[in-house]
Symmetry: C2
Amino acid sequence: MSTDPRPIGVFDSGIGGLTVLKHLARRLPHERFVYLGDTARVPYGNRSDETVRLYAQQCAEFLLKHDVKMIVVACNTVSAVAMDHLRAFVPVPVVSVIEPAAAEAAAATRNQHIGVIGTRATIGSDAYAKAIQRSAASAFVHSRACPLFVPLVEEGWLDTAATRAIAEEYLRPLQAQEIDTLVLGCTHYPLLAPVLHDLLPGVHLIDCGACTAAEAARVLESTDEVAAEIPRMDLYVTDVTPSFTTLARQFLGMPVDDPVVVSLEALTLNSVRQGGRP
Amino acid sequence: MSTDPRPIGVFDSGIGGLTVLKHLARRLPHERFVYLGDTARVPYGNRSDETVRLYAQQCAEFLLKHDVKMIVVACNTVSAVAMDHLRAFVPVPVVSVIEPAAAEAAAATRNQHIGVIGTRATIGSDAYAKAIQRSAASAFVHSRACPLFVPLVEEGWLDTAATRAIAEEYLRPLQAQEIDTLVLGCTHYPLLAPVLHDLLPGVHLIDCGACTAAEAARVLESTDEVAAEIPRMDLYVTDVTPSFTTLARQFLGMPVDDPVVVSLEALTLNSVRQGGRP
């Protein structure tokens, strides 16, 4: 059985993707990872689709320069609007966070009522609903944008009275639809899982990070490209702020080294808008 | 008395600065305004100081190309960390949102206990406390970062149970200090004024937009540069999203024309980091 020592590239608009990297590192313990968080331009969720595609392209180009064997798009917004664009020019497999979680939800539901929560951009794209219905045509998908969940997590308010009041407000319509499965369609949301579990007893919560890691492992195993290296994580960000280390540690579930800062000038050099001049 | 027909330039990291533009347009009804919202890179509040200074410089350079006679920095983060940098190269008066509100708070307090609320970046900079103490050396300044207020306003949750729960949590330490004056140190916060009034009865709320408009008028009147034009507002943004028109109308207090989109490439062309190559 052959192995492939090249690293796996992972990128996100910010640090939320570290919850995906956590699952990747657990599921693929002998791999090297290169993670890029575009923290100078986070959040992508309120940018236009064209801008998101340009930023995603720049992140992918950065990872390709690191000779990655696969790119994991650990960002729901990019997964929702830029996968076709990325796959058209990236010469290695590109794994999204949406397709694996959608397939898992379709397999898990018993009553065919699946809830999806995410940022306004992810929900507005309808990408989860479409992907779920490709696996389970008869499923009813009930979607709800929860824009306050990311700032709540970043504030560290994982289980306060306000967190519960906001979650109750957001989840009420999903409870009324009697969903039995809920896709956490944002990389920040797993940190709210305890509150969500309390408010939705018996509902199966699907963490897009865990599903994505399983899909990445499946792709690598199918092509004999799993590595047998000493594990390693190289973290790059486009901007660094005082809260980085605290949040990163919480998201990744382990201590992190200081990240390397990549300038936006370096990231955007030689990159052009889709349809622009070469 | 001479007049100056050149427009007043106003910029913000996003659309929050429209609450400042609203007061400017009321206070100076015969002026033309050019507003730039850097919506492709909002929020500035979680960028490093160096990055904020670079972005602010690029916004100011854009406005100078429109031959403005004054620049109003309608962004608390920029006002907190980049005023010296801007004033060093901008050849027209530059008005911040912090200094006028700080002076107003110092004049308004009776018991010398002043509260300041803002984003984490603004509060972390201590810029309001320093500015207040320049006017009132004996004042006690009690500051509190309220990072969830901006997403609450942008979600349109101006007065929900969750909004009140969050506001109560944030304001509790300020209530305990018996403040009699509270500076709303973020351009989004005036939209939460009704809830803040309820929770802090009798406390004088200071809107940085109103103070800034008064200061801009004072500067123009002192140099006979007030205009006598047909009023006009030209809105530029670096990215446009579906919620723009709704939020902009709410912030500005009147209907808005569609904004002109300026590409980031155009904004950043020829601009270099502080200390970089000329």
